[in-house]
Amino acid sequence: MKFLPLVLKNLLRKKTRSGLTIGSILLPFFVICLLGTFVAMLDADPSMGKGMFRIAVRHKVSFANVMPASHLEKIRQLPGVKAAMPFNWFGGRYVDFSAFHVFQRFAVDPAVFFDIFDASAIVQGSAEEWRADRRGLLVGEILMKKYGWTLGQKVTLKGDIWPGVYTFTIRAVYRGQSEASVFFDQKVIDEALPARAGLYTMIWLKGVDAAAAHDLIPRINALFENSTWPVRAETEKEFQNNYVALLGNVKLFFRSLTAVIAAVVLLIAANTMAMSARERVTEIAVLRAIGFSRRLLFGLLLSESALLAVFGATLGLAAFVALFPRLRAFVLYSPVAGLAAGLRLYPDVLAGAFLVTILVGVLAGLVPAIRSVQRPIATGLRLVA
């Protein structure tokens, strides 16, 4: 510890160099945090642990195929089901197909909606008002802010899978998971398209408890195995994972990127340390001559590069935490807003990035430090820079 001032003095000797090195550690550290947070977001449970009892049922072929309403009735009658409802992907467009106007639209059953999504809280309007108005719309809070909507405002959606122009009135606003969605009554579609009434792309249900939900999945799959419309039932978490899997091997891609970035930092830091060691050959020989042990000098040199890494990582961490609200807003307002429910500052991701950076700093200083302390004193003193 008493040598800390010496280490700091050495770092301050070349202020530009130390500053630049810290900068070249800080920026990649920021990117590593960003990539790590994104991977953690993909892994996160969208319902924050509350989705264990929820089950999504879709046609076995894919969720672009429909199932008949009779499936819903049969599922409702199974023991252990608390509530079940259609969860129909509406598709369509709001204003146009631009990324800014992308959000999810679902046709559901308002009577049981809050029995299934019981963690969602109404923040404006009320569930009763939404149920009372056949053409009422339940809107996620984030969408209200994004489009500047107000309670009672009319919202028009143009259908493609379910053709037609549908105008709804905003009756309630919720806060909770997947806030980038709107929900309305399935009966609206059934009335507008009588020929296709009672056809659902998804059915969602909730078990009375975790054990019931666990038993329900194989039972539902078996129930419709030989029907004309075979299904696949899975927990909300699995459903989300499959959705993420559609993106391709994003996690592997991001992890490889992180590894290469760490290697770049290593190169840059190692280069800096090598340069400063080279300039101090004579000085180190003098220190050895006046009695500094090899081990002590080795420790001092190594702590210099470790300290640079600590500074870089700390500043990077501060920048990341400071910019995080902006990042969150950026994701929430993008078409992948649905994923952003899990976007948080993950302490383990940040701690991991921090440790990797310190490790890189120590590794970078290793070779130059070993070479410096092993050079014989006489050679070092004789050397003319």
Binding site: V61, G91, D160, I268, N271, A274
Partner: protein, 392 residues
């Protein structure tokens, strides 16, 4: 104005081997990362830009973003086929194909699952897409639940090679052949005959109609005819435009490439700056001597910027080489992601084009320029007398 010989800088780079190679490698890795991410985006973009023909028109239900959301009933098809503008085939019938598109959730070979488009095509469907070739087996026979699979899909999904059967509850299809569409959209699809598929899936109609038009005027006439018929509530899109509109799928990857590339480049730029500052301070007396010999400040500035550019160029070349190596060796297979417009997998390969390599070099030179500018300025403003007096 007299310039300092370029040889002076190049030799200096070789004198400091370790520092030079570490800096070069640092810049090289940044360029390589940038190139790999951009090659991913480029490969995905190419699927869409190379797909579709300018003379084909895709008929969809109004307001549909893709074929998956669209639906055309059986009785609408004859009405579409009588609209003026469609080119006749050799047999006198209109050159058009009513098609059905369904996505199948298939298991991948490496674990997990993804949605793959299965497309039922009419008898003229093949003639509308001349770029397709059969690479193994034979084409499907209508009405027998036979399919042909793209070579790329067969490499990524289970049960998709010739002779195997794709099972789905009551459905089963025998794979009788593999085709290659040269990296265009059909390379992500499985094909069968449309009538068999309509029966299998108990559909009352089709997803879309693809029609060949003879020339631009005929094409516009056909599209206008569709728009003008209010009973149909359909719209026609030029096939090439339909695919071009889906290139936005690659936008997030390209954004990521630029973002990571630029942040890392600034980091590497700092590294290059460190190297150049060290080079300048080690040669203070030399620089003062050059100035004393009569070389102008500008000549010294230009000389050091040039040295930094050389350093970066070496890095750029190393980066391009590493990028090529990575794309050719480690990333040479096909990969896939989901196109959220069609909710199905797009299979594509990394694509490192000469333009991208050029961008990588320019990228490295920009790093070199900014990395060298400030150290070069310090060199140019060296005080001659005090620098010459300096010892060691």
């Amino acid at each position: 104005m007299l310039g300092i010989p370029l040889k002076y800088n190049i030799r200096n780079l070789f004198v400091r081997k370790v520092t030079t190679s570490l800096t070069v490698l640092g810049i090289g890795l940044v360029v390589a990362v940038f190139l790999c991410v951009m090659a991913l985006g480029e490969g995905l973009t190419r699927v869409f830009t190379a797909s579709g023909s300018d003379s084909n028109v895709l008929v969809l239900r109004q307001n549909s973003q893709s074929e998956l959301q669209s639906g055309i009933s059986r009785d609408q098809v004859p009405l579409i086929l009588t609209l003026p503008g469609i080119a006749p085939d050799a047999d006198g019938k209109p050159l058009a194909s009513a098609e059905l598109v369904v996505v199948l959730n298939l298991e991948k070979l490496g674990g997990g699952s993804s949605n793959v488009t299965i497309r039922g095509i009419g008898e003229k469907g093949m003639k509308l897409r001349p770029g397709l070739t059969l690479v193994e087996g034979r084409w499907f026979a209508p009405g027998k639940s036979e399919v042909v699979v793209s070579k790329s899909v067969s490499k990524r999904f289970k049960d998709c090679t010739t002779g195997q059967t794709i099972h789905f509850g009551a459905y089963r299809w025998t794979v009788v052949g593999l085709f290659d569409a040269g990296g265009t959209a059909p390379d992500s699809e499985i094909w069968t005959d449309v009538e068999g598929m309509v029966t299998d899936f108990k559909r009352g109609g089709y997803s879309s109609v693809l029609a060949r038009t003879s020339g631009r005027a005929a094409r516009d006439q056909f599209v206008a005819g569709l728009a003008g018929d209010a009973r149909l509530a359909l719209e026609g899109k030029v096939e090439r435009k339909y695919y071009d509109d889906q290139t936005s799928t690659a936008a997030p990857i390209k954004f990521l490439g630029f973002f990571v590339g630029i942040v890392m480049a600034i980091g590497a730029c700092f590294g290059a700056m460190n190297t150049m500052y060290a080079a300048v301070s080690a040669r203070t007396r030399e620089i003062a001597t050059l100035r004393a010999l009569g070389f102008s400040r500008l000549a010294v500035l230009a000389s050091f910027v040039f040295e930094s550019l050389c350093l970066a160029l070496l890095g750029g070349i190393v980066g391009c080489f590493l990028g090529l190596l990575a794309v050719k060796l480690a990333l040479s297979g096909v990969t896939g992601t989901t196109n959220f417009a069609t909710f199905s997998e797009v299979v594509f390969a990394f694509r490192l084009t000469p333009q991208l390599l050029g961008t990588g070099i320019v990228f490295s030179l920009v790093m070199g320029f900014f990395g060298g500018l400030f150290p070069a300025a310090r060199a140019a403003f060296t005080k001659i007398t005090s620098a010459l007096r300096q010892v060691g």
